[in-house]
Structures are given as structure tokens and as C-alpha cells.
């Protein structure tokens, strides 16, 4: 680090020899350019980073940039915006205050914390305020009626106007589907020259000699029959020093540098292990992943696995590149060998396990998972894979039985609630939910019994309860729901108990659209009074709200709540009775 701190990067600002032409002239030139011109450009762009520099040069011209900036409208200067902002502030504040006021008396968690700022909960008030604003906006002037789609487009923010690229590709996809249906014999092009085959042979032997350069252009030019193009092959345009490429006498340093620049190199001359490793270490030192991988591909081809793996072990950066390269090119077998050789058995196990995703047939998949059980997983992962296997095995049995039952139409539940999808490959909890939905009352001995599932997979009480509750509520089987909470103490009194907070119970029931009378029972069981009132208000359980305020002896709140209930309703009468009751000792 210190070294770096001391290092001062030098940026020479000396003006290099520039052959600048302005952007405008280049564009013009381009339009005029015939094939010869583009041949010249090909030469330049073909040397990788050269193309970047090429463009840069064009644009560093100052005049050019100024011209660009004048054509683009800038947003208004900021100082003005700031003043107008603060001018608006008081008005805005009043507005917000108004909107927030009605919320102030609502209970929310912010009260217990510092961020008494804003809540998403009970959005009703804000939503209605928003709705009013919306109404107001919509009602402004009849001018809106004059709107037409074209105008909409002209303001240019309807993202994908006709003519955009995404739009066009979509159109093409649509037209392709049409084309797909036509009997599609491949159209044989009459102009297919017979030399097409032989041309593939032009491919230069060495990979890293690589670059299209002569080889490719030649292919092209031959085809085009325009031999003049050849005059502009990159070699001719290059400075002398780069000719060295052809005789491949680059040093390791120079080679890595060329790799970084995306230029062609030959690695074949690095034959001793020492040279190869030097090359690799230099690439790593240059922090260029592309160069590192390039060297690794070469090493993979020219070193035996044992040696390669051994050397990579002490070179973590290179190793990670190699692993990533093998992953991307899907060389699973070699990757596994590597991980095992490195003693990274847990990773190897996971990698092997992952393969199940490529097996579509459920029986084959199950068998594959079974074969994974012997792998050396880390930590608890072995148990998780075991569970995965057991689950799929069971799903296959349940699926077969239920599909049959559904077809035969003997069980009512499948008729009333047809299965939307197969249970195969679903997560465990989804399976449990399914079993609670279709097989709730089965004896514990069957595979599909929820209790059996719970037992087998050691599902926690809370988890089981949550899932069963949601499933029975979905079926609107309130008797089952009710039964889940019943427990009797030794005196035989029944009392409602739940491993889940009643607040959450209400939440689950409400999400399954339980009627108010059912909700009310459970809202009443929420022990925290504040929370209870909040929930009761949200779900319109007036009795609970009224009773809780009565118990809290909070006259003001009760009076306030009177405004929210319907005029002339039983609730209103009840509140009135309470408020006029002399015996209650109100606290306010």
C-alpha cells in the first residue's frame, strides 16, 4: 500500500503528433468512402486497442466538443431551482402536515422508535389523499380531452417508439414464428461457391496468432474478388517494431503486454515449465483476467493435468480463473478432477449434486440424487441432500396416487379444487401445504399424511402450524382452523393456544380472505392492547376496538372512533351507551 501511495502517476501532457480531423469531417469522409477507405479502417481497427485510440484522437478536438454541447439543451441552472424550491417549502409543508395529521393518532411502530417519519402501513389515508390529487389532476381543464397519441409520442418518453430496436426485434420474432410453420427445407443458395469448404482450412494453425488479420481478410477478399483490398492489410500499416510478431521472438513480458492489448501472439515458443509459469505469473501481475485465461488455455493444452494442478495450487488467482474458465466452458469432468486433486471435496460434491438440474425425468433424477448420497458434503449439506432425495421419492409416490385419484374422480376434494400443477420437484413446505390441503385427515401411516411428512423431515411445530393453518384457511374450513388452536388443560377447560403470535395468525387468515366473524375471534386473542386495536381497526372488528378502549378507560379515543363507524349502526349505539355510562371511570 505504502508503495502505491508514494507512487505518483505521471501523465504526460505533451502534445503528441496528432492527425486530427474533426468529427464532422470524419463522418463525411465515412459516407463518401468506398471500399478502399473502409479497407484502410479495417487495418486500423484490427489491432484491438488501436481502434479505441483511433476514435479518441478524433474527439479530443476541443471545437468539436463545444459544438456538441451547444446542440444538447441543458437543464436550467441550479441556483434558480433551489430558490424556487425553498419558496415552495412552506406550502408543501402545510400540505404534508395535512396529509399526515389524520395518521398521527394511529398506532404505528415508529412511536416506539425514533423514525417517527413515515409509514406505509394503513395507507388508506394517504392513498385517498393521493386519489383526490389524481382526481384533481384528471379533472383539470377539458384540455386533456384534446390529447392525441401522436403528441404523446412527440414528448418522447414513451420508451419504445415504433422504430426502436427492441420493437423491431420483437416484430421479427413474431414474423419468424409465422415463417417457422412453413415447410422449411433449407434454401440452397445458388451462389454457394464450392470453395467454401476449402476456406475453412485457411484458419491459421496457432490460436494466438489468432487475430483475423491476413487470414480473415484474405478469406473475405477472395470472396469479394476485390484484390485491391489486400493492399491495406494491417501489416502494411503497422510500425516496423510490430513485425517481430511474425518471427515470434517476443519476450515473456512483451507477450503478456500484447495479450493485454488484445494483439496476436504466439505462445508456442514457451516450452519449458519455467517459461510457462513465468508467463502465467506475469499475466497475473498485470491483473488482466483475459490474459491470465489465455495463458491458462495454453497451459492446459501443453501440460499434463498433474503438473498443471500442482502448479495452480500455489497460484490462487490463476486457479480461480481456471475454475471459472472450466465452469463457463462446461468442462465438468476436468473441473471435478481439479477440485478433488486440490482436496476440495465439498465443492466437488456440490458441483456433482448440481447436475441433477439437467435431469428432467423424475425417476432418473431420484436415482441420481440417491447416488449423490455417498458424496462428501460439508457440514449439514449431506443431510439436506438426503432430505432432497427422500422428498422426491415421496413426491413421486404421492403424484402417482393423486393423479389416479383425480382421474377417477372418487375424491371430492380433487373435483372441487383441481390441482393446478404437479407436486414433483416442489419444495418441502409446498409439499406439506399440498398434503394439508388434500390429505389433511389421513392416518399417520400414509406417505401423504401431513403428520408423517412432519415426522420424516423434522419440521418444527411453528412451521407445521403455519403451513397447516394457511392450507385449511384456503379451503375455508374454519372448523379445522378452530380445532388447531384448541387445547385442554387438566381441568378440561379449553383454551386457545398457538405457537404463532395471534397477530400473525390474523394475518394469515386475512390473506386467505377469512370473513370478519372468524378474524374477530383471533384479533380478540392478541394480548397487546395497542396491537389489538390496530389490527381490529384494520380489519373492521368494531366490537374489539370498542371493548378495548372501554377496558383502557380511554374516553377520547372512543369518542374519536365513533366518527369512524357507520351512522345509526349498532356499533354507534354501543359507543353512545358506553360514553354515557356514569359508572366507568374514564382516565380522560
Amino acid at each position: 500500500m505504502t508503495q502505491l501511495n508514494q507512487q505518483v502517476f505521471s501523465m504526460e501532457t505533451e502534445a503528441g503528433p496528432f492527425c486530427l480531423s474533426s468529427l464532422a469531417t470524419v463522418t463525411k469522409e465515412r459516407r463518401l468512402s468506398g471500399r478502399r477507405k473502409s479497407g484502410l479502417k479495417a487495418a486500423r481497427s484490427a489491432n484491438g486497442s488501436g481502434s479505441v485510440r483511433f476514435v479518441l484522437r478524433i474527439h479530443t478536438g476541443r471545437t468539436d466538443r463545444q459544438r456538441v454541447s451547444t446542440t444538447t439543451p441543458r437543464s436550467p441552472a441550479h441556483p434558480e431551482a433551489v430558490t424556487s424550491n425553498s419558496g415552495r417549502k412552506t406550502e408543501e409543508q402545510r400540505q404534508v402536515n395535512k396529509m399526515m395529521k389524520s395518521k398521527a393518532d394511529e398506532e404505528d411502530y415508529w412511536n416506539s422508535s425514533k423514525y417517527n417519519a413515515f409509514t406505509f402501513d394503513d395507507a388508506d389515508d394517504e392513498l385517498s389523499a393521493l386519489k383526490e390529487t389524481k382526481k384533481a389532476v384528471n379533472s383539470i381543464g377539458p384540455l386533456l380531452a384534446e390529447d392525441d397519441e401522436e403528441d404523446w409520442e412527440r414528448v418522447s418518453w414513451s420508451g419504445e417508439p415504433v422504430g426502436s430496436i427492441s420493437w423491431s426485434v420483437k416484430e421479427m420474432a413474431a414474423s419468424n414464428q409465422r415463417a417457422d410453420r412453413e415447410p422449411a427445407f433449407p434454401k440452397i443458395s445458388t451462389e454457394t461457391p464450392s470453395l467454401s469448404k476449402s476456406q475453412s482450412g485457411i484458419s491459421l494453425s496457432s490460436l494466438f496468432k489468432g487475430k483475423p488479420k491476413g487470414g480473415n481478410l484474405q478469406t473475405f477478399n477472395d470472396v469479394l474478388g476485390d484484390s485491391s483490398l489486400r493492399l491495406y492489410t494491417p501489416e502494411l500499416r503497422k510500425p516496423k517494431s510490430e513485425y517481430k510478431d511474425l518471427v515470434s521472438d517476443w519476450s515473456a513480458e512483451e507477450t503478456v503486454q500484447r495479450l493485454q492489448q488484445g494483439k496476436g501472439v504466439t505462445l508456442e515458443k514457451f516450452r519449458s515449465l519455467q517459461d510457462k509459469l513465468l508467463l502465467l505469473d506475469l499475466a497475473v501481475a498485470a491483473h488482466d483476467g483475459n490474459a491470465i485465461t489465455a495463458v491458462l488455455i495454453y497451459l492446459k493444452r501443453t501440460l499434463c493435468k498433474d503438473v498443471l494442478f500442482r502448479e495452480l495450487e500455489s497460484r490462487q488467482t490463476a486457479l480461480r480463473h481456471f475454475i471459472h474458465y472450466l465452469t463457463e466452458s462446461r468442462e465438468q469432468r476436468l473441473l471435478l478432477e481439479l477440485l478433488r486433486a486440490l482436496g476440495r471435496t465439498e465443492e466437488a460434491a456440490l458441483l456433482q449434486y448440481k447436475d441433477y438440474k439437467n435431469i428432467a425425468d423424475e425417476n432418473k433424477r431420484r436415482d441420481f440424487l440417491k447416488s449423490c448420497l455417498s458424496l462428501q458434503f460439508g457440514g449439514e449439506d449431506g443431510n439436506h441432500v438426503q432430505d432432497h432425495y427422500t422428498l422426491l421419492e415421496r413426491q413421486i409416490i404421492i403424484e402417482a396416487a393423486d393423479r389416479k385419484a383425480e382421474r377417477e374422480g372418487k375424491q371430492e376434494v380433487f373435483q372441487k379444487f383441481p390441482r393446478k400443477a404437479s407436486i414433483l420437484n416442489m419444495p418441502l413446505i409446498t409439499t406439506l401445504y399440498y398434503c394439508c390441503f388434500y390429505h389433511y385427515n389421513e392416518p399417520e401411516g400414509t406417505f401423504s399424511s401431513p403428520l408423517n411428512v412432519r415426522q420424516t423431515f423434522k419440521i418444527s411445530e411453528k412451521q407445521y402450524f403455519t403451513t397447516a393453518l394457511a392450507a385449511r384457511a384456503k379451503l375455508k374450513n374454519w372448523a379445522d382452523v378452530d380445532a388447531m388452536f384448541n387445547s385442554r388443560n387438566w381441568l378440561g377447560f379449553s383454551k386457545k393456544k398457538s405457537p404463532l403470535s395471534f397477530q400473525r395468525v390474523v394475518d394469515i387468515l386475512q390473506k386467505n380472505s377469512a370473513p370478519t366473524r372468524v378474524l374477530q375471534e383471533y384479533v380478540g386473542l392478541v394480548s397487546d392492547a395497542e396491537l389489538r386495536i390496530g389490527l381490529a381497526q384494520k380489519h373492521k372488528c368494531h366490537d374489539i376496538v370498542i371493548n378495548t378502549y372501554r377496558d383502557m378507560k380511554d374516553r377520547q379515543q372512543l369518542a374519536e372512533y365513533r366518527k369512524k363507524v357507520e351512522r345509526g349502526s349498532a356499533e354507534e349505539r354501543k359507543i353512545d351507551e358506553l360514553l354515557s355510562n356514569q359508572q366507568i371511570r374514564w382516565k380522560n
Partner: protein
């Protein structure tokens, strides 16, 4: 927004130049393949391409039909095919299949691959292996930088995050450096470069080499300072729910390349609408950085102003009316449309957030950030998992718990992981393995000193109590890096003060006053101190790799010194951008954010699921 805003903010350089550069280069490359040709575009390149060119541009350069790369046999009948792709091995393999299929059918065509932003040797190796090297010409389109707005530039490389931080592949380092080099050549010379993180350091090094190799023309700098920061310096911030308007819109509707698609629920018609979200949208521009609670107030105020403006036309004579129609009406109508759109969007956001108990979720997040009632947070997360609520959301909370607490207690880890796998499927074993590797979700390792203490105390009490003591001790002893950082940098403001979100006093407003984003706080501190002096403890906790270097002689008084390019390697969130805009206003800076991609909690975690390899 804030009263203290300085009025002398410097002007931003004009970034639209980058678009013209990219377009011109693409046109030039297309002309390398003269004649009619079909163009196959990789799907994730389509939106970026849309920002800089359109179909008619392509048609002008003899592109006949456009297709999406779909890894299926192609139907094109053109005798020239051009592929515009990211340098990915699987895409190149597909192209090889196409070429080989043509060969087998005796069909002759010309093929050209344009790799963007650069080509990789690994891709060329595939061409060679598949025997099509030489049949296919390759080229590079150095399209590094897409300006999404006047102060945001994206490299549109979401894979940067996974490749670099999870796989440890440095292939994009040079790309990032080249992008920086391009900016340096156009808007430099930079006078100072600060940075933190391993990748930042490598990027800096690689960029420096490019500067040395290239030539630099003396010119007037437009961007003075640069700050490079790795995403893994701060994982907390992108894991938090966003509550600033732009961030919230991104979390809910997903902004893609500066454009959002509002569904029927927002447009209140049967079709959805794509909308560009940037500073050109006057209404959006005023609310994008606001905390969501301020947005309603603003919108209704705006509605009233609009009404007044429309009302003006009452009592006008013909001449005045004519002027009104020709000068003001169009602007008003446009504003009107934007206004109703953002109102509908806000409405839709409210509905969605209310439905998913956003309130409770935020409470849990804030508690985690504060280190308060962690047990309650854990049981909230557990219930979240039990109920099979959003898989990503559960994972996000787990990670937030782990990063703020410096890992989970072994028994919590074991139980939460088991329950997660039960709820969302056993294949998430791979997800957990990835998260562990990245350090996002880990098990606490019992410290050594702790074991000594335990065994001493353990002798005095019976076994069961000893077990409980272990828990107690480990929660005492775990010294979370985040907690220490948070104390050091004052990231969580004092809890006894009210925080008025309408008048934000610091960057914490982007998280309802509960937390100052770590990444932005570091930037603020370093700029203030002009280096890392005094931040030694902080950098040690973050794991170092910080640097601050001086280059060209700073033209001290020039505006350029107050224009700061912040480059996020691995992505940044809209909330962070909002925070930096706020900081800029406070201190008289202007920030230009360069990011490898815009990210948020979902994108971050989705990149780590294991279904894409």
C-alpha cells in the same frame, strides 16, 4: 431540497458525446461488412443499443433484419450475418453451431462477430476448437460507457459483479480501466485519484499503464477528481430497502437502462407504457431524490400549480389566448401527463408496499442496522421464511443479518438454513455456498479467547447452563465490523432525535434517517480530508486496499476540481446516487457516477443464485 445547498455548483461536462462516439464506431464496424446483412443482437445489448441508435440508423448501413440471439437454429436467409454479442463462451459456441450447420448444409455465408465491449481469448479459442476460426471475422466495439442521465454513466455489465467478486475472474478489470481511460482522454486530465478495494486498485493500475502507453494532449480538464470503490466494500447499502422515489421505482418496477415499463395498474389502460426516467422529465427530476413520504405532498402541490396555470386562460382575449396556446399550452400538457403518470405510479407503490407489510420489514431492517432487538429480528426472518414469502426478500434479510452481525451464531445459521431449504427448495444449497464464498451469509467462528473463558466458567456450572453461557458470551464477544464502522463513522444517527425527512440534514434521509450509506460516507470523508489520513481504523475494518494519488498539477481554482467521478465497481444503487447528489449540493460538488451496472438488492442476490450457470 436542503437549505444549506451551495449555489455555485459547477456545470457538468456534456456526456452525450459518449453516445455519439459509440454510435459512430458501430456504424463504422457495420460498414466493414458491406452489403445487406442480418444482425443478431444479444438480448441484454438491445436496450443499451436502443439508447444510442435506432432501426433507421442500422438500416442506413444495410442491416436488413434484426434478430435476438436465442441459442436456437436461425431462420435468416441472408448471405451475410453479423452477430453483436457480449464475449461469452456459450454464445460463441452457439455461433459455431450455426456456422457448422450451414457448412453441413452446403450453405455459404459470410459471418462477422462484433464483441462488445471487447473480445476475450477464451472466445476465440472456442472458434478455433469448433473449426470455424477463419470462417468468421471478429471485431470489437469498444462501447464501454452508456450515459443514462446527465450524471450517470453505466457500463451495462451486470456480470461484472458475479465474475469479479464471486468467481474471482479479473476479466473486466481492463475493461473498467479502458472505460476510465476513455473518460480521462475526453474530460481529463484527472488531478487526483482516490480508491478503495482490491478491484479498484487493479483498475487504477491497469488504467495508469494505459495512460503511460498512450499519448495525452494537454487540455483543459473538465473532471478533476476520481473515486474508485469496490462493491464489496459496502454490501449493507444495496441490501436495504430503498425508500427514495427513484430507488423505490427501481425496486418495484425495475428500471432497465434508464427506462421503466409501467404495467396496466399504473397506466390505467390495458397496455403498459415504457417511460424514460431521467432529468428531461421535469416532474420526475424534482421527486427522484425525495424520500417517498414527501412525494405525495409535492405532487399535489404541483397539481395545484398546474390548475392555476390552466386557469390563467380564463378571461384572456384572443391575442393572449393565442400566445398562451403557442407558448405555454404544450408545456403544460406535457407536465400534466407526467404528473398523472407519477401519481399513478406512487399509488401503485403504496398499494404494493402495504400488501407486503413493508412497515414491519423496514422496522426489522432498522433494528438490524442499529443492532437492536436482534432476537426479534431473527424470529421475524424465520416467520418470513416459514410463510414462504418472497424467496429473495428472505435471503436479503438473512444476508443483512449476517453482514451487520458479522455472521450468524452457529445454531441460528443451522436452523435458518434448514428452514430456508425447506421453504424454497434444496437446490438453494448452491446459493448458500455462493453467499458463503462471498462472505454475505456466514457462520460465526467462535473466537479463541472466548473458548478459554468458557471452559473456565464452564467448570463452575453444570452443562446446560454452560451451553447458555456460550450463547451469551459469543454475543458479547462478536465484534462486528459493521458495528465498529458504524460507531466510527456515525452511520446510525442518534436515536433520540427526530428526523425531519422534508429537511434532510444528512445522507441518512435516503433511508428514513436510520442509516447513512457506508459507501457514500467513505467518499464524503475522503474528499473532506483529501485522503485517508485519520481513517486508518476504518480502512482496517474494511480490509484495506485504499489509495490516494496525485497526478497532473491541479488547476486549483478551476471548477473541474469540484467535479468528481465516482466509479462503482460491481454496481451501485439509485439510493446511493441520490445520497451523492445530496452531498454534492451540500458541499458544492457535482458527482458523476460511473457504475458497472445499476443494482439493487434483488439484482445483487439474483446474481448469486445458482440457476444461471
Amino acid at each position: 431540497m436542503a437549505h444549506s445547498a451551495r449555489r455555485d455548483s459547477p456545470e457538468l461536462p456534456d456526456l452525450s458525446l459518449l453516445k455519439r462516439l459509440a454510435r459512430d464506431q458501430l456504424i463504422y464496424l457495420l460498414e466493414q461488412l458491406p452489403g445487406k446483412k442480418d444482425l443478431f443482437i444479444e438480448s441484454d445489448l438491445m436496450s443499451p443499443l436502443d439508447r444510442i441508435a435506432n432501426v433507421s440508423t442500422l438500416k442506413q448501413h444495410e442491416v436488413d433484419k434484426l434478430y435476438k440471439v436465442e441459442h436456437k437454429p436461425i431462420v435468416s436467409i441472408s448471405d451475410q450475418i453479423c452477430f453483436l454479442i457480449r464475449p461469452r463462451i456459450q454464445t460463441v459456441k452457439w455461433i459455431c453451431d450455426v456456422v457448422n450447420a450451414d457448412k453441413a448444409a452446403g450453405k455459404f455465408r459470410r459471418y462477422k462477430i462484433i464483441f462488445t465491449p471487447q473480445k476475450f481469448y477464451a472466445c476465440e479459442a472456442v472458434l478455433e476448437e469448433q473449426g470455424v476460426f477463419g470462417d468468421v471475422t471478429t471485431d470489437e466495439w469498444a462501447f464501454y460507457l452508456l450515459p443514462l442521465d446527465e450524471d450517470i454513466i453505466s457500463l451495462e455489465l451486470p456480470e461484472f459483479f458475479r465474475d469479479n467478486f464471486l468467481a474471482g475472474d479479473q476479466r473486466w478489470v481492463r475493461t473498467a480501466a479502458s472505460a476510465l481511460h476513455l473518460l480521462h482522454s475526453l474530460f481529463g486530465p484527472f488531478s487526483k485519484v482516490y480508491g478503495i478495494g482490491r478491484c479498484s486498485k487493479m483498475t487504477y493500475e491497469s488504467w495508469r499503464e494505459q495512460v503511460e502507453q498512450g499519448e495525452q494532449k494537454a487540455r483543459h480538464a473538465e473532471i478533476g477528481n476520481v473515486f474508485l470503490i469496490d462493491r464489496d466494500v459496502d454490501f449493507i447499502t444495496p441490501l436495504c430497502s430503498q425508500v427514495v422515489y427513484e430507488g423505490l421505482v427501481d425496486d418495484i418496477f425495475r428500471i432497465k437502462c434508464g427506462c421503466v415499463e409501467f404495467g396496466p395498474e399504473v397506466t390505467s389502460s390495458d397496455k403498459s407504457l415504457k417511460v424514460m426516467l431521467n432529468s428531461q422529465d421535469k416532474v420526475f427530476n424534482e421527486i427522484r431524490n425525495e424520500h417517498f413520504s414527501n412525494v405525495f405532498g409535492f405532487l399535489s402541490q404541483k397539481a395545484r400549480n398546474l390548475q392555476t396555470a390552466y386557469d390563467k386562460r380564463r378571461g384572456m382575449d384572443i391575442q393572449q389566448m393565442k400566445t398562451f396556446v403557442s407558448e405555454e399550452l404544450k408545456g403544460l400538457k406535457q407536465e400534466h401527463r407526467l404528473l398523472s403518470l407519477h401519481i399513478s405510479a406512487s399509488e401503485s407503490i403504496m398499494k404494493k408496499k402495504t400488501k407486503q407489510d413493508f412497515q414491519e420489514l423496514l422496522k426489522t431492517e432498522h433494528c438490524l442496522l442499529e443492532g437492536f432487538e436482534i432476537r426479534e429480528c431473527i424470529s421475524f426472518i424465520e416467520e418470513h421464511i416459514n410463510r414462504q414469502v418472497s424467496m429473495i426478500e428472505s435471503l436479503r434479510l438473512l444476508c443483512l443479518l449476517s453482514v451487520t452481525e458479522n455472521g450468524l451464531l452457529p445454531k441460528d445459521f443451522k436452523s435458518l438454513k434448514a428452514q430456508y431449504l425447506q421453504s424454497y427448495g434444496a437446490d438453494h444449497l448452491l446459493t448458500f455456498s455462493n453467499l458463503k464464498q462471498l462472505g454475505l451469509l456466514v457462520e460465526q467462528q467462535p473466537g479463541e479467547t472466548l473458548t478459554v473463558m468458557e471452559s473456565k466458567v464452564g467448570k463452575l456450572v453444570n452443562d446446560r447452563t454452560a451451553g447458555k453461557l456460550t450463547d451469551a458470551f459469543s454475543s458479547l464477544a462478536k465484534k462486528s465490523h459493521f458495528r465498529a464502522l458504524s460507531r466510527k463513522l456515525n452511520l446510525v444517527p442518534k436515536s433520540d432525535e427526530e428526523y425531519d425527512l422534508r429537511v434532510p440534514r444528512d445522507m441518512a434521509y435516503i433511508f428514513s434517517g436510520a442509516y447513512v450509506p457506508l459507501s457514500c460516507k467513505i467518499i464524503e470523508q475522503v474528499l473532506e480530508r483529501d485522503g485517508w489520513t485519520g481513517l486508518e481504523e476504518v480502512t482496517r475494518l474494511i480490509n484495506g486496499h485504499e489509495f490516494a494519488v496525485t497526478g497532473a498539477d491541479p488547476q486549483s481554482k478551476s471548477d473541474a476540481q469540484r467535479i468528481i467521478l465516482v466509479m462503482f465497481l460491481g454496481g451501485c444503487t439509485f439510493s446511493e446516487i441520490s445520497a451523492l447528489r445530496f452531498l454534492g449540493k451540500e458541499k458544492g460538488y457535482k458527482f458523476i457516477v460511473v457504475t458497472t451496472a445499476i443494482t439493487n438488492s434483488s439484482r445483487l442476490l439474483e446474481a448469486l443464485l445458482d440457476n444461471n450457470v
